[in-house]
Assembly symmetry: C2
Homo-oligomer: 248 residues x 2
DNA sequence: TTCGCGATTATGTATAGACATTATCGCGAA
DNA sequence: TTCGCGATAATGTCTATACATAATCGCGAA
């Protein structure tokens, strides 16, 4: 029994995917004590070296922290937040005691337009959910989000009206991403955007475009526009451990 | 012989540090075929599992790419270029056949100002090299770089006039960084910056601030201003492999 | 009750061997 | 010369074991 049966993923990858999915989906929240190595050994019927390699790698990449005798726990988001997500507004608001709310200003289901289809690499005409959201803190607009969700990958989005959670947060809970592409640009606000964000026309805005996939299947594309004076993106890196996070 | 003698680093870490240092310093440039596992086994007198774990980890983190039978080679910078560096202009220029040049517009050695000292965490009054550079491709200004270099960490910078290579490239060759912090913002160009970059006053600019350290010692801080319409930053991520790169 | 110390437990590092997988090399045939 | 194919070499995954290390637990003594 040295090799997994052909046609199925290797054990190492399977264990790793399982654990990463549980962490990214929030099923195992920060602070959660993940099973001990010997428990995972029993669960997957493998040797300790195999689960040890999985866990050490996750630790190096900042997803979990490990302590002898005490076991391994899911790390605090700061180190693994490679995403610069709108969800941060809710967290930031909770932390600082300000009032956060969001407003869905557009929602429709339409075939994908040719430009987006080409950009993303999907067949023209695929049905997508288009949704635009304004994020507000203490009555001050903080960001305008234009999003496009693949109904093929996320059929549950079809009837969703995003009443309790904004699309980004809602998605993250249901479809943890495995790959993401980010583009950051600076643009001058046109009059429409200026009105939305309550800034003057021409003010510099930071635009973050993000596309995410899950196991090769396209999930969503978001273009988020932040007023330039109110936000910046920040990240820390070292050659071995790479992580970044968004700050207000 | 299951354990390294106390007082010295573990074998795994030593091998990894050695290889990372060789890659980051440029001694093993991109494309260089690093020793085979069995050669590293012999060199360090350890089992294959140990060097295998080192190399697999480096591969996961994008420092090297591995291919069966062919061996492992140092990866192209794009995947490990967590830095969005000016050096890319020279590469980009070489690739597209455009003419790149830079002009040092300011150079002085002064005690650090209090704001920067506070920001970086250095004692007020430390001597720093201040240098400003304009980067030009085909006679079109592409970026304005304001940089501050610690003469304590990089004494060779004292007499350097940056004739052959711009400060970023020059530094990277001498002092490979081990930690970096990035901040990305969007600002409106003021009249001075507009004149420098040949854009209109008020045009949105992407500002990248980067601070780097080597083994805890501060190396440099750079603030690079790009015309918003001419540039964007791009990165790809997955929970396990994190990398990003700059594109034109 | 509190302190100290040994037992316990989970992780950290390392070994030697096994078999799978895959790309390349080189030889022989067309 | 070129094509095909088997040998070969390097990495990929996994096992079973061993001993080190560090933190916690719990018992017994002060």
């Amino acid at each position: 029994m040295k090799e997994a049966p052909s046609g199925m993923k290797h054990l190492y990858q399977r264990i790793r995917d399982d654990i990463e999915a549980k962490i990214m989906s929030g099923e195992w929240p920060p602070g959660y004590r993940i099973p001990f190595e010997h428990e995972l050994m029993a669960e997957y019927g493998c040797s300790r070296m195999t689960v040890n390699k999985v866990l050490s790698t996750l630790a190096v990449n900042g997803l979990i922290t490990r302590r002898r005798r005490a076991g391994s726990v899911v790390a605090e988001p700061s180190t693994r937040q490679a995403v610069l997500d709108i969800q941060d507004f809710a967290l930031e608001a909770a932390r600082t005691g300000t009032v956060y709310h969001f407003k869905v200003v557009h929602r429709s289901i339409d075939p994908i337009d040719t430009a987006a289809a080409h950009r993303i690499g999907l067949p023209v005409g695929t049905e997508m959910l288009y949704i635009s959201t304004l994020h507000v803190m203490d009555d001050v607009p903080q960001a305008f989000e234009e999003r496009l969700i693949s109904l093929a990958t996320v059929p549950e989005a079809n009837g969703e009206v995003f009443k309790d959670a904004p699309p980004g947060t809602w998605l993250l809970r249901r479809v943890p991403w495995t790959d993401a592409e980010h583009i950051v640009r600076a643009v001058n606000a046109d009059s429409t955007m200026a009105k939305r964000l309550q800034i003057r026309t021409g003010a510099a805005c930071l635009v973050l475009e993000r596309r995410t996939w899950q196991a090769g299947a396209f999930v969503t594309e978001a273009r988020i526009t932040y007023p330039g004076e109110r936000h910046h993106l920040m990240g820390r890196f070292s050659p071995s451990v790479k992580g970044s996070s968004a700050v207000q």
